[in-house]
């Protein structure tokens, strides 16, 4: 999904997405979600088009995009591994799992492996607090992680 596309294409697709959703009450977040689903990130070229179509200033759109953790300004790796860092996962050794995953991938949170395979992100709660520590790999949830399961997840993400 995370392919670089030519500027023109971004413009056309952005316009189509905004056109389809701008009738909603409070359309900006649904539009940004759709744009990120389309391009894998929110391209800078999309912002002035969204601003114009919604009758907002470009600064307002920029302000919204940068407020939320979910929106990316550049493509992620082919796989996104999210590790829960919140209290329930901490109570079950989540910190150790995080350290191990970072070591296996050779990256820190918010970074992508050099081969572009995996982006590692912290997440504050997946609602899997009764089967901690938990993680999400490309939308698939995983619970009761231990060192072996964490290594398996990393191997899966590497593929």
């Amino acid at each position: 999904m995370n392919v670089h596309v030519a500027g023109n294409d971004v413009g056309t697709k952005t316009l189509a997405i905004v056109g389809a959703l701008k009738g909603l009450e409070g359309p900006l977040l649904p539009i940004l979600h759709e744009i990120q689903a389309e391009f894998g990130y929110v391209p800078q070229e999309s912002l002035p088009i969204i601003a114009q179509e919604l009758n907002l200033s470009r600064a307002e759109v920029h302000g919204v995009v940068t407020f939320y953790h979910d929106y990316r300004d550049h493509p992620a790796g082919r796989h996104v591994l999210k590790l829960c860092r919140a209290e329930a996962c901490q109570s079950m050794g989540g910190d150790d799992i995080a350290a191990r995953v970072k070591a296996l991938l050779g990256i820190d949170f918010h970074q992508t492996t050099l081969d572009g395979a995996v982006t590692l992100e912290p997440v504050y709660c997946l609602g899997l607090c009764s089967c901690a520590p938990s993680a999400m790999l490309d939308g698939e949830v995983h619970g009761r992680l231990d060192a072996d399961l964490a290594a398996e997840l990393v191997a899966e993400a590497r593929r």
């Binding site: 919604l54 079950m92 607090c129 009764s130 089967c131």
Partner: protein, 518 residues
């Protein structure tokens, strides 16, 4: 004759391999020529037993768990289809003590029914509350909810009926019901479970709220971290609309109500109702100053009910069985039942719905069974990342809004996170400040700056730099944040910090540097 098997589709079950178990069951049964139907139900809430497989027999549903894909062949060999014995067999589901001792009102159907079968929903008492509400005047519905004593289950504990009354009486052409499903607190998952396991009950609750207040549009604002809940809710809304539960004439009443699901974008503060409204409007999730109250000027400046998922999902049973029935459960000013979420380092983690009034010790030791690690329980955090840490000495505190407030804590969204004796409470206090710094919306200074200074001060204590002075500074900072912040994020972050310092002072003493200096 086809045999009905149940394998949950709840995210907790999926995280433990439920999809693989369901697939293996289908394959193995086909290979043996056994005719089965696999229902993907919600979770019963016994998460240490997930994936929990149930089979419907003449004697009732028999449970097996936790089931791994590799167990499936052996289970079928042992006679799973007839509910026969196996080391993983737990007997009749309803008779498992954890489930049997609960009072399930809001979660009555969760784990029992097929979440997306309207027929199943109706067969288990669904829509009776809405049908009753349709025959009543709006003010009478509001009175019923007020009389039930139902209070906001999101954490603030504000009486739901009073909020509805304000919106009912507010002038306005268009009004809204906004369901706060932005369940970001660690240790909580009740909203997620109801959306995945019984989405129609939330739709029914919102429709009743619409009839009661004159609102015609509803939004469920949930988290991007909950893809399974989003999918289940979206499907359920489509089904409800097709069946005439939602639309221009709710169940033929002539009154309109429709709803949509909206997804957040990873901002914890959007669980605060005014930040949520800004986010829903497509703005930065910045907290609004109150007044004006959202009930008068909420979404797009119009009168808006903002209620938590569990508050709204509890309304159908209140309407169906009456205010008195619901009010008879509980203690003091905490009426009805509360779905307690037992999480973290605990043997029997999951969801336990019960009347208010159990003590914290009963919940953690008797129901939760102590820690998963087998080590002693040292601290439990009640109410999410903004909730206080309780030591064993306070385990006699009854689960009740006022009782927890009296001990400088809160029950919040009723999540309990258990920690064993390896926990470092200074580290937990620092994390509370760090989390607040990451998630602060930035509008008010105590929260925005205070949280960062809090992290630095906690670090200084850990390094043994002027510990006494820095402990005093941290206390002072907490005081400023508590009373000076605009919303609960900055205002309640001091709870975990101060409770850690008060109840576990030994962790705030600077051993390392002093020793190193000798």
């Amino acid at each position: 004759m086809t045999v009905r098997l149940y394998v949950p589709r709840d995210a907790a079950a999926l995280a433990l391999g439920a999809d693989r178990v369901a697939k293996k069951l289908a394959e193995e049964a086909a290979g043996r020529g056994i005719d089965i139907t696999i229902v993907r139900n919600g979770s019963r809430g016994m998460h240490w037993l997930e994936p929990l497989v149930e089979v419907e027999t003449a004697a009732g549903r028999i449970a097996y768990g936790p089931v791994k894909p590799s167990d499936v062949a052996g289970l079928l060999d042992a006679g799973l289809i007839e509910g026969k014995a196996h080391p993983l067999c737990l007997g009749k589901t309803e008779e498992i003590a954890f489930l049997r001792n609960q009072t399930r009102l809001t979660f009555a159907r969760c784990g029992v029914t097929d979440p997306l079968s309207l027929a199943d929903y109706k067969a288990h008492g669904g829509l009776l509350g809405l049908e009753k509400a349709i025959a009543m005047a709006p003010a009478d519905i509001v009175k019923e909810v007020t009389d039930s004593g139902l209070r906001g289950r999101g954490g603030a504990g504000f009486p739901t009926g009073i909020k509805w009354k304000t919106v009912l009486e507010a002038p306005g052409e268009k009004k809204y019901i906004v369901c706060n499903a932005d369940e970001g607190d660690s240790g909580t998952f009740a909203d997620r479970m109801i959306m995945e396991g019984d989405p129609f009950v939330l739709i029914e609750g919102m429709a009743i709220a619409g009839l009661a207040t004159g609102a015609t549009k509803g939004y469920v604002y949930t988290r991007s971290e909950y893809p399974h809940a989003i999918a289940a809710m979206s499907d359920a809304i489509d089904i409800a609309r097709a069946a005439g539960i939602l639309g221009p004439s709710v169940l033929g009443s002539g009154k309109a109500f429709d709803m949509e699901i909206r997804t957040g974008a990873g901002a914890y503060v959007c669980g605060e109702e005014t930040a949520l409204l800004n986010s829903l409007e497509g703005k930065r999730g910045v907290v609004r100053a109150k007044p004006p109250l959202p009930a008068l000027q909420g979404f797009l400046g119009r009168p808006t009910v903002v209620n938590n998922v569990i508050s709204l999902a509890s309304v159908p049973v209140v309407m169906e069985k009456g205010a008195a029935y619901y009010r008879d459960f509980g203690m003091g000013r905490s009426r009805g039942t509360i779905p307690i979420q037992i999480a973290g380092n605990v043997k029997h983690g999951g969801l336990y719905e019960t009347a208010f009034g159990l003590t914290l010790g009963e919940i953690v030791d008797a129901i939760g069974g102590g820690t998963a690690s087998g080590r002693p329980v040292r601290a439990v955090q009640v109410g999410g990342p903004l909730g206080a840490y309780f030591p064993r000495a306070l385990f006699d505190t009854p689960f009740d809004y006022e009782a927890f407030a009296a001990k400088d804590g809160l029950i919040g969204h009723a999540g309990i996170t258990v920690f064993d004796d390896t926990v470092d409470m200074l580290k937990q206090a620092r994390f509370a400040m760090e989390f607040c710094a990451v998630e602060s919306c930035g509008k008010c200074t105590p929260c925005r700056i205070g949280s960062t200074r809090g992290v630095e001060t906690a670090d200084k204590i850990a390094e043994g730099i002027e510990p006494e002075k820095n402990r005093a500074l941290l206390t002072d900072l907490c005081n400023t944040m508590k009373f000076g912040s605009l919303c609960a994020l900055g205002g309640f972050t001091p709870y975990p910090v101060m409770s850690a310092m008060t109840h576990f002072p030994e962790d705030f003493s600077p051993a390392p540097i002093a020793q190193a200096a000798e």
